[in-house]
């Protein structure tokens, strides 16, 4: 057997294995989306079939949009996620700058203290967090969720950002100092723009668990006005569990924003994960 043929068959095996796993990964999502657009009979008779003109039916979507208050849930999720990411990035970058730029007493200790939260999940403090939120009257507000998610995101943000900030040239910062920039303008005008790629990585890492979280919305903000998309669809699906059209449509609606964002940003996301972020 020639060498070229062995390598050809090897390539074929590699692709077969990867295609097989890709199918396993994507198939359930695909199946949900195609069936959400079919009528009830077709869902059960021919689950594998793409919607045809005869079986095409958007009744599920009509139920979801008519019954659940998904626009509100979506808005809540968006507010919570965007504000939390903004605070995590701002506070995290400031702390990372302080830790990586200045030498002061307790610097290392402070770094370790802030890094504790990378390994210890914030969920374990839930009992006291709920108590605190009740005491401050923040239960069933989006503020409660934003505070929790900001605290949850900070440790990793500080860790990743301070690694990156160490690579910003000292000469540049010193040139800024000579030009009379204050330490604040050095941070906001020189350093922040330079670590933007790292900020994007942190933003993605912070966003996914916040958007998908079910625990804290369930415990801190289960009220109708503050439900997030994750909690809202969980409850909606629980109520409509026998209405397959509605369930499949709700699932598809929940998948779509993530899918669109992911397809748009997957390059950056994967580059972020595979570059210096985790070493």
């Amino acid at each position: 057997m020639s060498k070229a043929r062995t390598s050809l068959s090897r390539t074929a095996i590699v692709h077969a294995a990867l295609i097989a796993y890709t199918l396993i990964a994507v198939f359930p999502v695909f199946l949900t989306i195609i069936n959400s657009m079919k009528n009830r009979n077709a869902i059960f008779r021919n689950p594998m079939q793409l919607p045809t003109p005869a079986t095409f039916d958007l009744v599920g979507y009509r139920t979801v949009l008519g019954q659940g208050d998904f626009a509100l849930y979506f808005q809540n999720s968006l507010i919570v996620t965007v504000v939390s990411i903004f605070l995590v990035l701002l506070f995290g970058a400031m702390a990372a700058f302080a830790l990586s730029e200045y030498r002061f007493r307790g610097n290392t200790l402070m770094g370790l203290y802030l890094a504790l939260g990378i390994m210890i999940p914030i969920r374990l403090g839930t009992v006291a967090i709920l108590q605190g939120m009740v005491a401050t009257g923040l239960v069933n507000t989006l503020t409660a969720l934003i505070l929790v998610y900001t605290a949850q995101g900070l440790p990793l943000a500080v860790f990743i950002l301070s690694e990156f900030m160490r690579t910003v040239s000292d000469d540049l910062k010193n040139a800024g100092r000579i030009d009379g920039l204050s330490e604040y303008s050095i941070f906001f005008r020189l350093v922040l723009p330079l670590v933007r790629p790292a900020m994007a990585t942190v933003a993605v890492f912070t966003m996914i668990p916040i958007w998908n979280d079910l625990w804290f919305p369930l415990i801190l903000a289960p009220g109708e006005a503050t439900k997030t998309v994750t909690l809202g669809s969980q409850i909606f699906i629980g109520q409509f569990v026998t209405n397959w059209n509605a369930v499949l449509a709700a699932l598809s609606l929940a998948i779509l924003p993530v899918l669109v964002l992911y397809l748009a940003f997957s390059r950056q996301l994967i580059r972020g994960i595979t570059s210096g972020a985790v070493k």
Partner: protein, 343 residues
């Protein structure tokens, strides 16, 4: 080595500028001041450090660290005659030994270990295998595979849980149909509904969702192996499987260590998937109950059972100790034993 001071020439220039700006009268001849005096002039008090650190520190301490310690503290208290009172370790004794609590607790702990074991045995090997395939040189379509395989990781538990609930449902018939295609229809059973198989099914759903994370981390580690090492191996005739096991695997051991500890922390803190697939009771018959769902039911109450803050705090403390033990084991034993190669 990081520096927070300009190099000497710059410092002197800066000092000169400050001096001249501040007093206007200083001459440039006394540029050879002592270090101490220099520092005094340069920064009397560096308030900006505090300003930079404070917001992060306040939020992190107030919302994360203090509640964590308060929870640990609460686990030593319970309500005695309607008054909160210090009860020492009796909450733990109740949890480990009391008839009503102990069986639930040990069951959840055992299930949690099985949950973790399945992740280690299925998720991480598959992740490593996929990463090894993806990192093969000159592989076409690697970006496409990567994107597709990572997709489930981004979906929320609610989506993942319900999709699989539907697919595995005997009512819909998708899984029997698919298994029929490969001739295994007779093996189908409603796995999620049987106490014997529900935990395995839920674990495998979680594996399906998270396999992207070990894949990506290992993939990154494999890409970091220098070209020369691989070339040297090829010169010595080490290729294919042997190359992976003898050359690459030892080099990515630190990354495997990291994914193991991430899996451990994630698994012992898991809740969402079991809650969406099997509900708060983690049925059938508690067979999928893990520490996260037990904590939720205990602390929050469910159906007839009332919420119990002290016992909730006690379970959270036990989870904390388990995670702490795992993390310490990793940091102080495993991480130090793993041989690292510097290039």
């Amino acid at each position: 080595m990081r520096q927070d001071r300009p190099c000497d020439t710059l410092r002197i220039w800066r000092w000169i500028i400050e001096r001249t700006v501040n007093s206007g009268q200083e001459t440039m001849t006394d540029a050879t001041v002592s270090e101490a005096e220099f520092d005094v002039v340069r920064r009397p008090r560096r308030w900006h450090i505090a300003v930079f650190l404070l917001p992060a520190l306040v939020v992190y301490t107030a919302v994360m660290i203090l509640p964590l310690f308060e929870t640990l503290r609460l686990s030593f208290f319970n309500t005695v005659d309607g008054q909160p009172a210090f009860v020492g370790l009796s909450n733990f004794a109740t949890l480990f030994g009391n008839e009503r609590w102990a069986s639930d607790f040990w069951n959840a702990l055992k299930n949690n270990f099985i949950f973790f074991f399945i992740h280690m045995m299925v998720q991480n090997p598959i992740g490593i295998a996929l990463a090894a395939l993806l990192s093969l040189p000159k592989l076409r379509g690697a970006a496409f595979y990567r994107t597709a395989i990572f997709l489930p990781t981004l979906l929320s538990f609610v989506i993942v849980g319900f999709i699989w609930k539907l697919i595995l449902s005997p009512i819909w018939g998708v899984s029997p149909y698919l298994m029929d295609l490969v001739g295994l229809k007779s093996l189908f059973s409603p796995w999620l509904g049987r106490p014997g198989s529900a935990l395995i099914a839920v674990s495998l759903i979680s594996v399906w969702q998270y396999v992207g994370i070990p894949m990506m981390l290992i993939y990154a580690a494999l890409l970091n192996i220098p070209e020369e090492v691989i070339e040297a191996a090829e010169c010595d005739g080490i290729t294919g499987w042997a190359q992976f096991f003898k050359i690459k695997l030892p080099l990515i051991l630190p990354a495997i260590g990291i994914i193991s500890i991430l899996t451990f922390v994630g698994n012992f803190n898991a809740f969402d998937l079991v809650y969406t697939v099997q509900g708060a009771l983690a049925g059938p018959d508690g067979s999928t109950d893990i520490l996260g769902t037990l904590l939720y039911r205990t602390f929050f109450g469910f159906q007839l059972q009332l919420g119990d803050r002290s016992m909730g705090a006690t379970i959270a403390t036990v989870m904390f100790l388990i995670i702490l033990a795992g993390v310490s084991l990793y940091l102080f034993v495993i991480q130090r034993r793993i041989r690292r190669y510097q290039f």
